[in-house]
């Protein structure tokens, strides 16, 4: 019963979206607008639910006395502190301070680490010396060089080559990938709307 109600609700809301998207003359615009705004509200609640789950997990971890509980305390303090400051003191400059001096440097530094790891990973791949690996390497090194802002000044024809490579073969390949992935996305959407995939009840 629970499963079928969910499937029905998915199909119904999806049908409104599809019908309005394909035949706008049906006059479903107001319903669709209401559902879209509702989905935005639910997305915000989904984010809150995710954070509640995160908090719950760390609370249980603390209660269970499993290792690295110091990290859990730190995380919960940072979470509750930031949320409180952002909601209670939005105009104080404190949220911006937290973003600029904690959030931004840590996230950017985590990304910076990938510069090192990507070099190691690229070596692992290139050193295989298979046809695919060599092709990937030639393409990556060539495009890296061609994409530099200095390349066209070195030799004007290099700029033309870059433009042609991106606009003809690479755009063609990417179009194939795009069409393939769009077909996949449409298929998944159809399966969800028809009730063949039921992630809402954990299936």
């Amino acid at each position: 019963m629970r499963r079928w109600l969910s499937v029905l609700l998915v199909a119904l809301t999806g049908l409104v979206m599809v019908a309005d998207g394909l035949v706008p003359e049906l006059g479903l615009g107001p319903v669709r607008r209401g559902l879209v705004d509702g989905a935005v509200i639910l997305s915000a609640f989904a984010l809150l639910a995710g954070v509640l789950n995160l908090l719950g997990w760390h609370l249980r971890r603390l209660r269970g006395g499993e290792g690295a509980s110091g990290g859990s305390i730190l995380l919960m303090l940072a979470l509750l502190g930031t949320a409180t400051v952002t909601i209670a003191l939005p105009e104080s400059g404190a949220p911006e301070w937290l973003y600029a001096h904690l959030y931004q440097p840590i996230q950017a530094s985590l990304m910076a680490l990938l510069a090192f790891y990507s070099v190691s990973a690229a070596y692992r791949t290139f050193a295989l010396r298979t046809a695919d690996a060599v092709l990937l390497m030639i393409s990556a090194v060539l495009l890296l060089f061609l994409q530099l802002p200095f390349t066209a000044a070195l030799l004007p024809v290099l700029g033309d080559i870059r433009q042609w490579l991106l606009a003809a073969p690479i755009a063609g390949i990417m179009r194939g990938v795009l069409i393939g992935s769009a077909l996949g996305a449409v298929t998944v959407s159809l399966r969800v709307l028809l009730g063949r995939e039921r992630p809402q009840v954990g299936e």
């Binding site: 931004q104 070596y123 994409q147 066209a152 000044a153 954990g202």
Partner: protein, 429 residues
């Protein structure tokens, strides 16, 4: 009864709170293992999806009293579990005397049980029943790992929706030669030196920077904006790509400020809003004429669709009301969201400033006219500064990319010279 982790499928005794294999919180969500066939079931399932064994009540073995001497031998005391009971129910009616039909409250019947009662005469089995025989009903055995595996496989095929991962390939580093430690350190140091190069020699090679056509077109479009023209910046990158996209965003904002454009910014994630605030604050300070931050819309199809038609009640106007729209995004998926949910309904083709990583995959949208242009942050930032007559951060730091190209070239040569079979490679990262 056993339970199973929904993530890694590891089995645990009932009551286990955390999966010992993957750490998943089993107290919140777990699957129930059928004690008979081993299939995985949802917590709410009353019966096993494969063998119909009731899952709610504990499947305690129902031990029947001894049969008379004329019956099967001592070892043949039948032990019928609730699962076998259910299986019997599915197979059809059983003799009246069968224990399978006894209510649970009457597990110790007063009348001795004869499994052949009522059947011997019509089937002519009296003689066979009177003779000792070897066919006995053994005690129910706990299923082993192999049975569990088979049961899982069958349950998946029978009960679960087909996953869309057929034909997918797993990627492992098995057999991939690692970078030797010494070389790795040397390359890391070179990479660090390349990153520091612009700070030691600022502006190196800046006279060689030549803006490409798309960059000049964007600079010209901004230059042609009348004073006060409304411009919408849709901000969808966070601190991860700040190093690449901040200089381009800063240069664009500087030119928009020069044109006295009325800039409004809407972010598509919380971190994007923080990043937008940071860049705007660096360029404008606290001046009241600075861009207006409209807020953040949760991303996803619904978020993009809301942006397409606007939500005036919460201060977001339809995108078609703006003289120019620029989308700053870190992922190709976000730009695709625009093409599928915004451009289709509003007809607005934005300029897209995106990471160099995502740029190639967006070219088809440029060719189909859905996007006005796609500029990769790494190369477009210095080129835009040159095209718009600014010479700031991006021009000064562009030489670092020359250093990176050199490091990658060394890496490629090294990989070609030291492929598999040319010496010991393992032991590195």
């Amino acid at each position: 009864m056993q339970i199973a982790c929904p993530i890694c499928r590891a089995r645990h005794p009932e009551g286990t709170r955390t999966c010992t294999v993957c750490g998943h919180d089993l107290a919140t969500l777990h699957l129930v293992v059928c004690p008979i066939c081993g299939a995985l079931n949802l917590v709410d399932d009353e019966r096993c999806r494969r063998c119909a064994t009731p899952l709610r009540e504990p499947p305690a073995p129902l031990t029947l009293p001894e049969t008379p001497a004329t019956g099967p031998s001592e070892s043949a005391k039948p032990t019928i579990s609730a699962g076998q009971e259910a299986a019997q129910e599915r197979l059809g009616p059983v003799p009246e005397s069968s224990a399978a039909e006894l209510p649970l409250g009457q597990q110790e019947p007063a009348i001795p049980l004869d499994p052949l009662a009522g059947l011997t005469a019509p089937l002519g089995l009296a003689r066979a029943a009177a003779e000792p025989h070897r066919a006995t009903l053994g005690l129910a055995r706990e299923p082993g790992d192999a049975e569990h595996y088979d049961a899982d496989l069958l349950a998946q095929i029978a009960a679960e929706p087909a996953p869309l991962t057929e034909g997918a390939h797993g990627v492992t580093t098995e057999g991939h030669p690692a970078l030797p430690r010494g070389w790795r350190i040397a390359l890391y140091v070179l990479l660090l030196a390349a990153a520091l190069l612009p700070w030691v020699l600022p502006g190196l090679g800046s006279s060689w920077i030549q803006p490409r056509q798309a960059v000049v077109a964007l600079a010209d479009a901004v230059a042609d904006l009348p004073a006060g023209a409304p411009v919408l910046l849709v901000w969808d990158y966070d601190a991860r790509y700040a190093g690449e996209l901040d200089p381009l965003a800063t240069a664009l904002l500087a030119q928009l400020r020069e044109r006295q454009a009325t800039v409004e910014v809407v972010a598509m994630s919380p971190a994007s809003l923080g990043q937008a605030q940071r860049v705007i604050s660096a360029g404008w300070g606290d001046q009241p004429s600075g861009p207006t931050l409209l807020g953040y819309i949760p991303i996803g199809e619904a978020g993009w669709r809301l942006l397409a038609e606007g939500a005036p009640a919460v201060g977001i106007e339809p995108v078609s009301d703006y003289a120019m729209v620029v989308l700053l995004a870190d992922e190709a998926a976000a730009v695709r969201g625009w093409a599928e949910q915004v451009e289709v309904y509003s007809g607005v083709s934005p300029y897209v400033l995106v990471t160099a990583r995502s740029e190639p995959s967006l070219w088809p949208y440029v060719q189909s006219g859905q996007l006005r242009a796609v500029l990769g942050g790494a190369w477009a930032a210095p080129e835009f500064e040159v095209a718009s007559g600014q010479h700031a951060d991006a021009v000064a730091t562009a030489s670092g990319y020359l250093g990176l190209t050199l490091v990658i070239a060394i890496l490629a040569v090294l990989a070609m010279l030291r492929g598999p079979g040319s010496g010991p490679h393992r032991g590195g990262q």
